[in-house]
């Protein structure tokens, strides 16, 4: 496995008559393989569209997502002027779904990203240091791992109280042990390899070995594993808001919208179910993209 630098395409045409075809880098191979995977590509397009809509929501929203109206409460899907209907306070649902994507996606992705950085750090340290440090770190991680993820997320944010920051913190703590475990096991494997021994024998220090030999080999598998957590994170983050532990009203967020629309389950059932459909589409797309990435990298779990 080569380092990230290999992603830069080599300008083959600029080379003077190549005697051999230069092999593409590892990441270029991965990219070439994933592009040929139709499911992963569909998922990528859906995600790009959702992210694009969320980012540009303030400029493309058809109506004010905060404007309430007593006269247009709970209109069905397809109402003129309200394509996706209106919610229990008469706010335009399409606009709220578009703007809600911002918080939902942010709250789903951020914990995994943060946990990827912290968890890899902890796992690589434990795996590379070995011995007592490894035991101390991994036994602590085991305790967090002893909780089912939903329970741990709810325990922490239940104790910390509602709020975006608290929800993000809880979810990050949920994912750190899972990522650290993978990071530790991959790093332990690399540490025992001959090339690390060789580097050490030629006088390389711990920092140099980690930077030059360990990181390049372990970050790929850890990253692929982390991407598979985004789907869970989306479901959990929206779930916390659904329970009233995350985003607070009137801010639009898919999980929170699903919760407040629950009262409309008998009057406008399909409007009530819409925000959840968006959580589902996002979550399944992340899962399919992650599956595609895993098979493209041939990382075995």
């Amino acid at each position: 496995m080569s380092t990230l630098q290999a992603t830069a395409a080599t300008p083959v045409s600029a080379l003077p008559l190549p005697a051999f075809k230069r092999s593409r880098g590892h990441w270029a191979n991965v990219a070439a393989r994933i592009v040929r995977n139709p499911l992963a590509m569909i998922a990528a397009v859906i995600l790009l569209a959702l992210i694009g809509i969320a980012v540009f929501a303030p400029w493309i929203m058809p109506a004010d997502p905060f404007a309430t109206s007593m006269f247009t409460r709970l209109k069905p899907i397809g109402t003129p002027g309200h394509l996706f209907g209106t919610d229990e306070l008469g706010r335009d649902l399409l606009s709220r779904l578009m703007l809600g994507g911002r918080l939902s996606l942010f709250m789903g992705i951020t914990p995994v990203l943060t946990a990827f950085v912290i968890g890899s750090g902890i796992g690589i340290l434990a795996g590379y240091a070995g011995g007592f440090i490894n035991t101390a770190i991994m036994r602590t991680i085991d305790v967090l791992y002893a909780f089912p993820s939903v329970l741990l997320a709810i325990a922490l944010s239940g104790a910390l109280g509602a709020g975006i920051v608290n929800a993000l913190t809880s979810l990050t703590i949920v994912f750190i042990p899972q990522i650290a475990r993978i990071a530790e096991s991959v790093t332990t494997q690399v540490r025992r390899s001959d090339y690390v021994d060789a580097a050490r024998a030629s006088g390389a220090g711990a920092f140099t070995i980690v930077r030059a030999h360990v990181l390049g080999n372990v970050l790929g598998p850890i990253f692929v594993y982390s991407t598979s957590l985004i789907s869970v994170s989306m479901i959990l983050a929206s779930g916390l808001s659904f329970l009233g532990l995350g985003v607070k009203p009137p801010e639009p967020e898919w999980g929170l919208m699903l919760n407040t629309l629950r009262t409309a389950i008998y009057t406008q059932p399909w409007v009530a179910a819409l925000p959840g459909a968006f959580i589902f589409i996002t979550s399944i797309s992340f899962n399919m993209l992650s599956d595609g990435l895993r098979s493209a990298m041939e990382v075995k779990q």
Partner: protein
């Protein structure tokens, strides 16, 4: 093997202590003074003193922790602030209800998960595999609280076949195993079963594919064993792992039932947690989480032990 089993049990002890420590800390990470957090807003000075004494907030942390653990080991998890009833009593009543839907969901999920997994693993890369794999991706990707809502919309709001919420026609009184009560059980359990179904289907597919590619299968076929004979061997080989995954899934569902119980107003541990969170009933929150987490650790331990006993091929270091 015996020495492994002993070590495995001993290893679970510090984990359980760690779990207890984390639950103990929940009260302390709560914002504000822990005493204020557990006090009802209209607390009298008398009650304040009484609780101070009971929780021992005036003592050092280690002292507090060990006295809390000591009381918990004797079945005393404190009293709920909202109801004043002992937490242990509330939790054990709720655990039974959660266990009902979680166990049923695990069985349903195991049945369909194994079915899809086997079909997908046997006919790898065929259209059957693609469909089965897609169903399993849906199972792990669907927000189950939303799935629950969709089922309520279809079967309660539109078709009016099944009751939407609660655990029986007469509120959440005593549970009886008759059709009138089981009707309330169906939707929460089916909703919940999607998670283990997806995970078990993925596991079984990978297992079957792996076993079919092993040499002994070719050997069996070469010796003239029919399709069914080979199938039996595949089942026997993947059963221990599949059962282990099923056991762990039961633990996850028990701990993760809060969202589904909220949707269906099912009077289990999730409902209790919900109540605890919104009434800032920290002893109840702490107690419920402790019981669920310890249950999960014990279930892990049990699965490990059973796996070692029934599948001696697994070499335990």
């Amino acid at each position: 093997m015996i020495s492994y089993l002993i070590r495995r049990v001993l290893y679970a002890m510090p984990i359980m202590l760690g779990v207890a420590f984390l639950c103990f800390m929940l009260v302390h990470i709560a914002p504000g003074d822990p005493l204020v957090a557990i006090l009802p807003p209209d607390a009298s000075v008398d009650l304040q003193k009484q609780l101070m004494e009971l929780y021992g907030f005036n003592r050092s942390y280690p002292e507090q922790f060990f006295s809390w653990v000591w009381r918990a080991m004797h079945g005393d998890l404190g009293s709920s602030i909202a109801t004043g009833r002992p937490v242990a009593q509330e939790v054990f009543k709720a655990v039974g209800n959660t266990f009902m839907i979680a166990a049923l969901a695990t069985l349903i999920g195991f049945f369909f998960g194994s079915l899809f997994g086997f079909v997908a693993g046997y006919f790898r890369n065929s259209w059957v595999d693609k469909i089965a794999s897609f169903i399993s991706v849906v199972g792990v990707s669907v927000p189950h609280y939303w799935l629950g809502m969709v089922l309520v919309i279809i079967f309660s709001s539109q078709l009016m076949w099944l009751p939407a919420t609660g655990a029986g026609p007469d509120g959440s009184a005593a549970w009886i195993w008759d059709f009138e009560h089981v009707k309330y059980l169906i939707m929460p359990a089916v909703t919940m079963s999607f998670i283990p179904m997806g995970i078990i289907a993925r596991t079984v597919r990978a297992l079957v594919a792996d076993i079919l590619s092993q040499e002994f299968v070719i050997g069996l076929k070469a010796r003239g064993l029919g399709e069914f004979g080979v199938f039996r061997h595949v089942v026997k080989n993947c059963a221990p792992t599949a059962m282990a995954v099923m056991g762990l899934q039961l633990g996850y569902l028990l701990g993760g039932s809060i969202l589904i119980e909220t949707v269906f107003s099912w009077p289990g541990t999730g409902f209790l947690l919900n109540q605890a969170i919104f009434q800032r009933d920290l002893p109840l929150l702490q107690g419920t989480i402790l019981v669920l987490a310890l249950f999960f650790v014990s279930l892990n331990l049990l699965v490990d032990i059973l796996q070692t006993v029934f599948d001696p091929r697994i070499e335990r270091a």
